[in-house]
Symmetry: C2
Subunit: 281 residues, 2 copies
């Protein structure tokens, strides 16, 4: 496995791969890899001839007062995992390799305003911009994203369609701890008590999944899910929302395929979870 | 020469070309081709194995009240010229082939606010978005732009750098009519009297070029150029500005390489012209 530190390094490797007609898979990450990332990487390794994992804590997707500085990093462990999983290249650039006097941004405002975007106004603009850069640098044929970041996934899919990127977006199911908590690098912020409290997210998710039905009022679903979170004293709801799966607009009644997404603060840590519902599934 | 009407058509042709290791040149145009476009196309044909000319009046770069509807079109004549110049493919899509529920935009706000951008707030966002799409659709190795649209050229170059597009931007000098008027599809809007009046642009440009010098105050240069335009009763200055060549910010004194750009209304028609000045050239 090679560690590429510069755009030029990646381009050189990719050029060689393309000449040999290899299919390239890209797994964009911010590092501190867990089993969720591993599931994406395994799928990428299985489906492509060559796999690039990018390992880059992208500063422009963090807003002011967010956890850019404290975001967990462990490149050595990431490297070992990638090596073990059969990754060909880790792209691990410095910030100034990716950004110098950056003036250009890719934005998809309408899909970025609600859900996580309402509290994180620059977040998805930062995600779209870095992902566009990674697509252009790696020229990947397929890119792998987790369903845990459901809004991000919908945004990336729409961006690919709108800007005609010639890449297939492959989405992978949420990977959970044994007790059901969705895996996240931010779970490391939780102390023992908070870790227990965090289970209210999966409880609400499961309860919502069991009780959702065609024709139901979204407000009713949100109410019964909120009631579960509210029972947990350490939890504070940021949002629970029901939106259409393509353009992420709020829906009043559950008729078309929807995404039910939530963000909940457990102490100071903001966690997310979600489920999708398809008509008469 | 092939006429491609869909993205899928272009992708199919490009895939074949790439398999045969061809270098691809792209000349993005809005059609109604004149000698200025022809100079770009000739250069592209000379420098590449295959050349695509896109011929698409891009609605999202026109603001409200601008000339989207009346913008001149003549696809038949464009086709003949391209054929004659050795173009391989004209990409001539319908609007709904390029845009359906478009939500994603590429923007480079800081470089887009001044000069033409101050009166045309959505213009360069529309240009960056369509050019990104064309880059992704054609996977060209080189793209050709005229120096007449100097702000557009600077913006595209910065966008390519910022988003890591793997494409070389080739810029070509302004092509002028025999009497010096910069070629433009919009010149057809001018009546006989206005056509004569339009020469004040080249007069001011030439006078500015002869009188610019290191250390000069930009305001002084703008003043002497404005005086020339003001002598023409049919002309109304939109702007004359002196900006740095990379980030297009106003400069007070002429020290670093600058772009001196102007937009002038001749009757209802808005025309542009410019020149570049390099240190001690």
């Amino acid at each position: 496995m090679e560690i590429a530190r510069t755009v030029a390094d990646v381009r050189k490797i990719v050029k060689k791969w393309k000449n040999e007609d290899n299919m390239i898979g890209l797994v964009p990450t911010m590092g501190f890899l867990h089993e969720g990332h591993a599931s994406l990487i395994k799928k990428a390794v299985k489906e492509n001839d060559k796999v690039i994992v990018s390992d880059f804590v992208n500063p422009i997707q963090f807003g002011e007062g967010e956890d850019l500085e404290s975001y967990p990093r462990d490149f050595e462990t990431d490297t070992k995992l990638c090596e073990k999983l059969g990754v060909d290249v880790i792209f691990y650039p410095e910030v100034n390799e990716m950004y110098h006097e950056q003036k250009t941004y890719v934005n998809i405002e309408e899909l970025s305003k609600g859900l996580c975007g309402s509290k994180r106004p620059v977040h998805f603009r930062g995600v779209c911009t870095v992902v566009s850069k990674l697509f252009n640098i790696t020229k990947a044929d397929r890119a792998y994203f987790g369903q845990k970041d459901a809004q991000q996934l919908a945004i990336i899919k729409k961006m690919v369609e709108d800007l005609n990127f010639d890449i297939k977006i492959v989405d992978c199911p949420i990977v959970r701890e044994a007790d059901g908590l969705a895996m996240s690098s931010r779970n490391t912020y939780l102390n023992t008590e908070e870790r227990k409290a965090a289970l209210c997210l999966i409880k609400a998710t499961k309860y919502g999944e069991r009780n959702i039905s065609k024709g139901m009022k979204s407000a009713r679903l949100i109410e019964i899910m909120s009631d579960i979170i509210k029972k947990e004293p350490l939890a504070k709801i940021d949002y629970i929302e029901v939106v259409d799966k393509k353009l992420l607009q709020s829906v009043e009644f559950i008729e078309e395929p929807v995404l039910v997404a939530m963000a909940v603060y457990i102490g100071k840590t903001r966690l997310i979870d979600n489920f999708s519902w398809d008509v008469e599934k």
